[in-house]
């Protein structure tokens, strides 16, 4: 009897020990999981600190107002950031209307048939095409066949094609989140499809679309490979003609066909020189790029978070 009791107690202890062990395993695994996720974030942090440590000496006002130069200490980012801004302008003007329109069509208009399936498969597939392939497309099509040259227009259009899937997917997702009864209410008072879309759907999905646009533009800003492939120059000591003038007609479009360089290419150029002094410039440029893209992405993520929290239906 007592022997049996003892063995039951022993079994109980064994079970308790097993439970403790398993709980410990759970705990250890959770810790490893968190660490695994932290690797990426720690890298990002190290990367940023490393860039700042290497490049902080060049981060002053002069860095943004001077042209590239043979002497590293006098070389600046002026032509690169102006080029980036102008290219981004072309990208935004092209990709935003095209992407939003395509997203609206696929979500609100497209019939469910093989035709829409093909478009949909294309969009998914384009999102997975490596960016350098877009560069080759642009080199063959925009630069030579359409004869747009190695210009701001070419670069802007290339990056627009590149971020098109991002804008389309964001548009579709935020439209899909709108409940059907919003549409039904509008139809019930006699609105046409387009009235429903422009007055209600676009209105409610605006935040989500904006999030996608910002993420896409941040990506376009940081993309290097396709812009190198179309043959962007790396040493530009002049600015494209100004888009705005003081005399009528106030706007001119000569800048579209101007040669250019952009921030990531300037960084790549300085980085590929053997001279250490230029590496400092590359680091400083890296800080600029990373701060701008992180700010843009951060804004987009914050915006999405707010929208999710303030959903009205």
């Amino acid at each position: 009897m007592s022997e049996q009791q003892a063995s039951t107690l022993k079994d109980l202890d064994a079970v308790r020990a097993m439970i403790r062990r398993h709980k410990l395993n759970d705990y250890i695994f959770a810790l490893i999981g968190l660490l695994a996720l932290m690797v990426g974030l720690l890298t990002l942090l190290t990367l940023f600190v490393d860039l700042v440590m290497d490049g902080y000496t060049r981060l002053n006002a002069g860095f943004f107002t001077e042209f590239p130069s043979r002497r590293a200490a006098h070389a600046g980012l002026l032509s690169a950031w102006v080029g980036s801004m102008l290219v981004m302008m072309v990208t935004a003007v092209t990709a935003v209307p095209l992407g939003v329109a395509a997203g609206v069509y696929l979500e609100e208009y497209a019939p469910k048939n093989w035709f829409s399936d093909i478009i949909e498969i294309n969009v998914t597939n384009l999102a997975g095409v490596p960016s350098i392939i877009y560069g080759l497309l642009a080199l063959g099509l925009f630069v030579y066949i359409l004869d747009l040259g190695q210009s701001i227009l070419t670069a802007g259009l290339t990056l627009a094609l590149l971020i098109l899937p991002v804008v389309i997917v964001a548009t579709r997702e935020s439209i899909r989140a709108i409940p059907v009864h919003i549409r039904e209410a509008a139809y019930a008072v006699g609105a046409t499809k387009w009235q429903v879309v422009s007055d209600h759907i676009l209105h409610y999905s605006f935040g989500g679309i904006l999030t996608g646009i910002i993420i896409g533009m941040a990506r376009a800003l940081g993309e290097t490979a396709p812009v190198i492939t179309i043959g962007a120059l790396t040493f530009i000591a002049f600015l494209p003609p100004s888009p705005v003038s003081t005399e009528p007609p106030f706007l001119n479009f000569e800048w579209l066909s101007a040669g250019f360089t952009v921030l990531p290419i300037q960084m790549f150029n300085w980085l590929s020189r053997p001279d250490q002094a230029f590496h400092v410039n590359a680091a400083a440029t890296g800080v600029v790029i990373i701060v701008v893209t992180l700010l843009m992405n951060g804004t987009a993520i914050w915006l999405r978070y707010r929208i999710r929290k303030n959903i009205k239906w």
Binding site: A36, L37, T43, L44, A102, I133, L136, G222, T229, G286
Partner: protein, 315 residues
């Protein structure tokens, strides 16, 4: 009588015809708008067609000079030299080696991270972690190239003193860290799609969280997790700037991560920087290289798409 009816009806007729006209205008406008929106959606199809057409067109001229057999079997890639060889293998080996290193880093970390996010993390931790990972995805690759060349490689040189300045190990590791978020987010998606009842069944049998995650949830989400890996491979293969900056640009038929080598993407960048004349064999060679790259990624994306479709259908 007649005139009276006319007088009476006229205003009404007028209203009706007005409304009909407006209706027609409305209808017409709707059609035009729908057509314009459809054209915008077709731009995606047009882009795909243009990519395929350009790559095939320029590669076709390339393959007029170079035989496909040479292209696939020659072990040297020196299109710009006097003694030109056009064997894609050295570029493929560089691409393969850097991607393999990246996967060795990203697959374990990404999978463990995904299991943690899906099965262990509290709602709060997840809400903080996922946006941060998204930020990591947003960092431009040229910056990671700097990191690989001037931070990771010097650090590795302290461990392996004979490591050259340009090698595949450093950029491979950095690329791996870059693709962790892609893998972890798709794999997490797949695991979250596993129905709660399966977890409850496992818990009811006395399994722990860890046992449930590894022996029930992960196997149930296998096809989705594989899709995540395939997406990761596809990213690594297409990645350009990190390898162009830090792996060197010398085509080299080797699988040794300690060596420097050019990948397909690095070669394209190198040639594009050199400003080759339009129509020369060097110019055409980047399109042939691009075609190979596009075919590899297309194959991987299709495979990933099928795998993902499978797990979406399963539950």
């Amino acid at each position: 009588m007649n005139t009276a009816t006319q007088v009476l009806n006229n205003p009404l007729e007028h209203v009706i015809s007005d409304r009909l006209a407006k209706n027609f205008r409305r209808h017409f406008k709707e059609r035009v708008i729908e057509f314009i929106l459809m054209l915008a959606a077709l731009s995606a199809v047009a882009t795909t067609i243009a990519i395929v057409a350009i790559l095939l067109y320029e590669s076709a001229s390339f393959f007029k000079t170079v035989s496909i057999v040479d292209f696939l079997t020659d072990t040297q890639w020196t299109p710009l030299f006097e003694d030109a060889h056009y064997g894609i293998l050295p570029l493929v080996s560089g691409t393969f080696t850097t991607s393999a290193i990246a996967l060795l880093v990203a697959v374990p970390l990404g999978t463990i991270g995904a299991i943690y996010l899906s099965e262990f993390a509290s709602h709060k931790v997840r809400e903080i972690c996922k946006p941060l990972l998204e930020l990591l995805v947003g960092v431009p690759t040229v910056v990671f190239g700097y990191f690989a060349l001037l931070f990771v490689t010097p650090m590795l040189q302290k461990i392996f003193p004979e490591l050259p300045g340009f090698n595949m190990l450093g950029p491979g590791i950095v690329m791996g860290i870059m693709i962790i978020p892609y893998i972890s987010s798709v794999a997490e998606d797949a695991m979250r799609a596993v129905p709660m009842s399966m977890r409850e069944g496992s818990y009811a049998m006395g399994a722990t969280r860890f046992q449930t995650a590894v022996r029930v949830v992960a196997p149930a989400a296998t096809s989705g997790i594989i899709a995540a890996y395939i997406l990761g491979i596809s990213r690594a293969v297409g990645e350009t700037m990190v390898v162009a900056i830090a792996a060197g640009q010398q085509p080299n038929l080797t699988f040794n991560p300690m060596d420097g080598a050019a990948t397909i993407t690095a070669y394209i960048v190198q040639v594009a920087m050199g400003d080759l004349p339009h129509g020369s064999i060097g110019y055409q060679s980047i399109f042939a290289a691009g075609l190979v790259l596009a075919l590899i990624t297309l194959f991987l994306n299709l495979l990933g798409h099928l795998a993902r479709k499978k797990y979406r259908e399963a539950y």
